[in-house]
């Protein structure tokens, strides 16, 4: 049972305060804060490794990104993935979700021999949740999104799909694509042996030509959408703590303040 996991390297949300946006290029200034694997993708990797542990086969990790995304792949290898492929090419720069999905789909096709492709439900930087479903469409594969529990049977999978206030049980024949939520598992930590193995592992690199793609299909040219502007919202004013020993005192202090500011 072979699984492919598509991951994305994103700015570490633990450092959210330090995130800045370049006003000229309308992009995140990524080099200023540490990068990590998109948190939902960590769950995707964990699920793939668990499937391998139970059913055998191998786990291949794919990411599209700049050369430094190699670090994310090594982290995935340290967790226990078998193989890692970096899709990196200047031609890929500026890809929107559609161009990204087409590129990933080509890579998945090129890898071949898979039963399941797993994505995190969305990336925490773009938050679109589009790439997984788009890859499924591009490859004409069945898909189950927002999977919070997965059972693998002989030729099919059964996924619990979390929707608002309920869940659906969905079956699909393999090969197929799923996107997973945080609830699906508790990801493991990398081990020392894993880290050392990952350090020495070879990362396969594919560019546009390796995937047999044209300039028109990739990057900005292949994108149906374009980000016109991205900006930080103005900072909200600092909150003020209302002092007081008791709830009563705090309440009257608050009322007094609201009166003074002519709010009431």
């Amino acid at each position: 049972m072979n699984t492919i996991v598509c991951i994305k390297q994103v700015p570490d949300s633990e450092h959210i305060q330090e995130v800045t946006i370049n006003p000229e290029t309308n992009t995140l200034e990524r080099n200023k804060i540490p990068a990590v694997i998109n948190p939902f993708d960590v769950n995707a990797i964990e699920e793939a490794i668990r499937i391998k542990e139970k059913h055998g086969g191998k786990v291949t990790i794919v990411t599209m990104g700049p050369p430094q995304a190699e670090e994310a792949l090594r982290t995935a290898l340290a967790m226990g993935a078998d193989e890692a492929i970096l899709l990196t090419d200047m031609a890929f720069a500026g890809s929107d979700t559609w161009a990204t999905a087409k590129t990933l789909a080509k890579a998945v096709e090129k890898i071949g021999g898979f039963d399941l492709v797993i994505f995190g439900k969305q990336a925490i930087d773009g938050d679109t949740a589009q790439v997984g479903p788009e890859v499924a469409e591009a490859l004409s594969l069945p898909q189950i999104t927002y999977v919070s529990k997965l059972d693998v049977e002989d030729k099919k999978i059964k996924g619990r799909r979390t929707v608002e206030d309920a869940y659906e049980e969905v079956e699909a024949l393999m090969p197929c694509i799923i996107t997973v939520t945080k609830d699906i598992n508790e990801p493991r930590f990398a081990s020392i042996r894993g880290i050392l193995k990952a350090k020495k592992a070879e990362i396969i690199k594919w560019g546009k030509d390796d995937l047999g793609m044209s300039d028109e299909e990739t990057g900005l040219n292949g994108s149906a959408t374009q980000v016109v502007k991205i900006f930080s919202p103005p900072r909200r004013g600092k909150g003020e703590m209302i002092e007081g020993v008791s709830a009563d005192e705090k309440t009257s202090n608050l009322v007094e303040k609201l009166r003074a500011d002519k709010i009431i």
Binding site: V36, E186, F189, A190, S191, I192, R193, I195
Partner: protein, 495 residues
């Protein structure tokens, strides 16, 4: 000044994490400044009632729980007076909450090395209890970082003590503007220690107040030494199996205080030593968890593999090759490594969760826990470790062993289910205390004596030693105003 006299306003000041239930007081005074502290003292003197200093209630030995009289809460003395980056020091009111202070330091790229684990504690209480913390293995406890304190005395004076200002002379006398005190003749062990007054020839008066558990005066202001913000760290948890310690017989046969015998095997102590002695590693803490601890932690970390022991290591760099070299001699079941912020924080929780779960359990069953807090000098630790293992094998009471193995300090906690089990646990506790005393160790490395451990302090220093502490107390607090029943019982003062 705020004064609370209604029972429902006072009640929250009558408890801490010891679960002791006797607390009672007539009033809570909440001064905003030194003048109000002195006014509180004056009033207590006039009413002839004892005054118990109250921190945030994070203590485990009932230090702040009043045995009658009034409470003085330092919660409004909570100004950070200055943070001086150039000279790496900070001046704070004693009621500043540690967490708030650490966040302020963080924004200025500074760090307070004692780093006590209870972040809601007051900084003055940390000084009054010589609190140790998460990086004690590397940096030591609070004492080392206190440069100056201001203390309100029961004689209604403010004593300003800068380190180096008031030193014991050859006769062991320290002379301050308000009293002359003869320091105790015993010597505090030179290890992690929070048991009784500090004493050492040629000692500094400031060290007498640090760790005096609110019995000598009310600390109003502290000046602390700081260091630059720490470099990024990573955490590793090593899950281990089958680390056999030699039997006592084999060890004795090899002579020399068991040490030789114990070091010969590939046991956990040898592993700890090889970590401690490896100069290439930059370790901040080494924590130990036994199989029972891991069993409890599984509630929060279901992925814990089944194994005997885990070590938690926080360190500066990830020298994976060195680790592999060290660990290949041992039966390692798994390792968890976290260096990005998310994994690091999750793994920090691995360490914090256990004491939390244990305290929760005791609150539920409404018992005071029987928690051994002894520590011994390094060369005696193998013997103590062996003793703990034997105790674990023979006791019928449920237990966990965990803690600061890097500092030769483990917590052996019993979970007695009834009074009979509690008696058994206490009997074991006393055996452990005797071990510690034999080894020139301490009966309390970090929890303190408070109102719970008088008996054990007497085992450590003898009645004579505790009498000497009482004598110091009588000299500095002649009205027996402060911290009634902390460290030693009131009746000792009247003897």
């Amino acid at each position: 000044m705020i004064i609370k006299k209604e029972a429902d306003q006072i009640i929250s000041y009558l408890e801490d994490t010891s679960n002791l239930k006797f607390g009672n007081a007539d009033a809570v005074y909440i001064p905003k400044n030194e003048a109000e502290v002195l006014q509180t003292i004056k009033e207590a003197r006039r009413n002839n009632t004892p005054l118990t200093a109250s921190g945030a209630g994070t203590g485990t030995v009932g230090g702040r729980i009043p045995a009658g009289g009034a409470i003085i809460s330092l919660e409004k003395m909570n100004n950070i007076i200055s943070i001086d980056k150039k000279n790496s020091k900070a001046v704070l009111g004693s009621g500043v909450i540690l967490d708030y202070f650490l966040k302020e330091l963080d924004s200025k790229k500074l760090f307070y090395p004692p780093f006590p684990t209870e972040r809601m504690a007051f900084i003055g209480s940390n000084v009054a209890t010589n609190a140790s913390g998460e990086y004690s293995y590397r940096f030591g406890a609070t004492r080392k970082y206190v440069e100056r304190i201001r203390v309100a005395l029961s004689t209604e004076n403010i004593l300003d003590i800068r380190r180096g200002q008031y030193i014991a002379d050859e006769q062991g006398i320290i002379t301050s503007p308000f009293f002359k005190v003869k320091i105790p003749a015993y010597r505090s062990p030179n290890i992690k220690n929070a048991a009784g007054y500090f004493a050492k020839p040629g000692m500094d008066l400031i060290d007498l107040f640090i760790g005096s558990e609110g019995t000598l005066g009310i600390i109003t202001e502290v000046e602390l030494k700081l260091i630059p913000a720490l470099p990024p760290r990573s955490i590793m948890i090593i899950f281990l199996d089958q680390l056999e310690v030699h039997t006592k017989g084999e060890a004795v046969a090899s002579g020399d205080l068991l040490l030789t015998g114990l070091e010969k095997d590939n046991g956990i102590l040898k592993l700890i030593n090889s970590i401690k002695n490896n100069k290439k590693l930059n370790v901040y803490s080494i924590e130990y968890f036994d199989a029972n601890s891991l069993g409890i932690l599984k509630k929060a970390f279901p992925n814990i593999p089944s194994c005997q022991t885990a070590l938690y290591i926080e360190q500066e760099k990830k020298e994976m090759d060195i680790w592999l070299e060290i660990l290949e001699k041992y039966s390692v079941v798994d390792t968890w490594f976290g260096d990005n912020a998310r994994d690091y924080n999750k793994l920090i929780d691995f360490r914090h969760k256990l004491p939390e779960l244990i305290n929760e359990y005791f609150r539920e069953i409404k018992q005071t826990k029987v928690a051994i807090d002894i520590a011994v000098p390094e060369n005696y630790f193998p013997e103590l470790f062996y003793f703990y293992r034997e105790m674990a094998k023979t006791t019928a009471v449920e237990y966990v062993i965990f803690g600061h193995i890097g500092e030769n300090h483990l917590h052996f906690n019993f979970f007695p289910k009834n009074e009979q089990e509690k008696e058994q646990a206490i009997a074991s506790y006393i055996k452990a205390v005797k071990k510690a005393v034999q080894a020139n160790g301490t009966v309390s490395a970090e929890h303190g004596i408070g109102k719970l451990k008088h008996k054990y302090l007497a085992m450590m220093y003898g009645r004579e030693g505790v009498m000497e502490m009482a004598r110091v107390k009588k000299t500095i607090d002649p009205f027996y105003l402060f911290g009634l029943d902390n460290i030693f019982p009131k009746k000792l003062l009247q003897d």
